[in-house]
Subunit: 124 residues, 2 copies
DNA sequence: TGCTTATTGTTCATGATTGAACGAATATGT
DNA sequence: ACATATTCGTTCAATCATGAACAATAAGCA
C-alpha cells in the first residue's frame, strides 16, 4: 500500500514522507521541526534531512522564531500549497480505489477497529 | 504495530524480518532464496544480506541443490526451529492483545477486506 | 545575576532495503 | 552441439530512518 502511494506520487516528484510533511504544514502552518517530527512519528533528525529537499524546491520556508531563536517555523510556500493540492488529487483517487472494495459502513468499522487495536497495543 | 512486534521479539534476539524468514522456512523447508524473497515481498539481495546473520547463529542451513547448482536450499536447524517456536509464543501473545479489541467474526471480516483492498490496488 | 538543566536543531555512524550490474549455472532454440 | 537467453545468488552504490552526541539557546532556581 505504501508502495502504491509511492508510484501514485511519482508524477508530482514527491515521496510519501514528503507528502506527509506538506499535509501537516498545510493544517498547522508555523509548526516547529520538533512538533512536526512528533506528528509524523519520526525522529527529529529525519526532519532535518527531509527539509532541505523541499526547501530547495521552494515548497516550504524555514524562518527562525522571533521569541525563541532555537525554533524554526515551517510554512508552506504558495508553490508548495499548489503542489500539495495537486498531489492530494492523486492521493484521493488512490484512497477511493482502495475503498471501492468496501461499503462506507465497512470502512468506518475498520477504522474504529484499527483505533482500538492501536490502543490495545500501547498498553502492555 | 511493526514497532510493537520489534520490542516483543527483542528478548529472543530477533528482528521482524528475521522472524518472517524463520516462519516461512518452517512451513516450506528446502525453499530457495528466490522463492523466499517473493514470499516476503522483498528483493533477492535483501535475503542474501539477511541470511548470514541467521547462519552464524546456526538457525538455518544453506545447501546447494543437487540438480540445479545455482539454487541454495534453505532449512531450519533444530535450534532454529526451537527458537522460532519460542518466539511464536511472544508473537501469539501480541496478536491476541491486538485482537482482544475485536470479536472473531470482526477479525475475519477485516481480513477479507484487506485482501479485497490489496486486489483493488494491484489493478490500476 | 550566575549556574544548572532542558529543549531545538544538526551531525554522524549505523542498519535496513532497494535496484542495477555481474558471474555462474541452466534452459531454450536452431 | 552450440549460441543465446534466462534464472539464481552475490555485490555494490544509493536512499532512508534511527539514535547518540553535540552546539546553541532558553528556562528554572539559588
Amino acid at each position: 500500500m505504501e508502495r502504491a502511494l509511492g508510484t501514485a506520487l511519482q508524477p508530482h516528484g514527491l515521496k510519501p514522507a514528503q507528502l506527509d510533511v506538506l499535509m501537516n504544514l498545510y493544517r498547522h502552518p508555523g509548526m516547529s521541526q520538533h512538533d512536526l517530527a512528533r506528528k509524523l512519528l519520526v525522529g527529529r533528525s529525519n526532519i532535518t534531512m527531509l527539509l532541505p529537499q523541499l526547501e530547495k524546491r521552494e515548497l516550504v520556508s524555514r524562518e527562525v522564531d522571533g521569541k525563541d531563536r532555537r525554533i524554526m517555523r515551517l510554512t508552506l510556500t504558495a508553490g508548495g500549497e499548489a503542489l500539495l493540492l495537486d498531489a492530494l488529487k492523486s492521493y484521493g483517487a488512490l484512497i477511493e480505489k482502495a475503498m471501492s472494495a468496501s461499503t462506507p459502513e465497512q470502512c468506518d468499522m475498520i477504522g474504529a477497529h484499527m483505533l482500538r487495536v492501536a490502543d490495545a497495543l500501547k498498553e502492555p
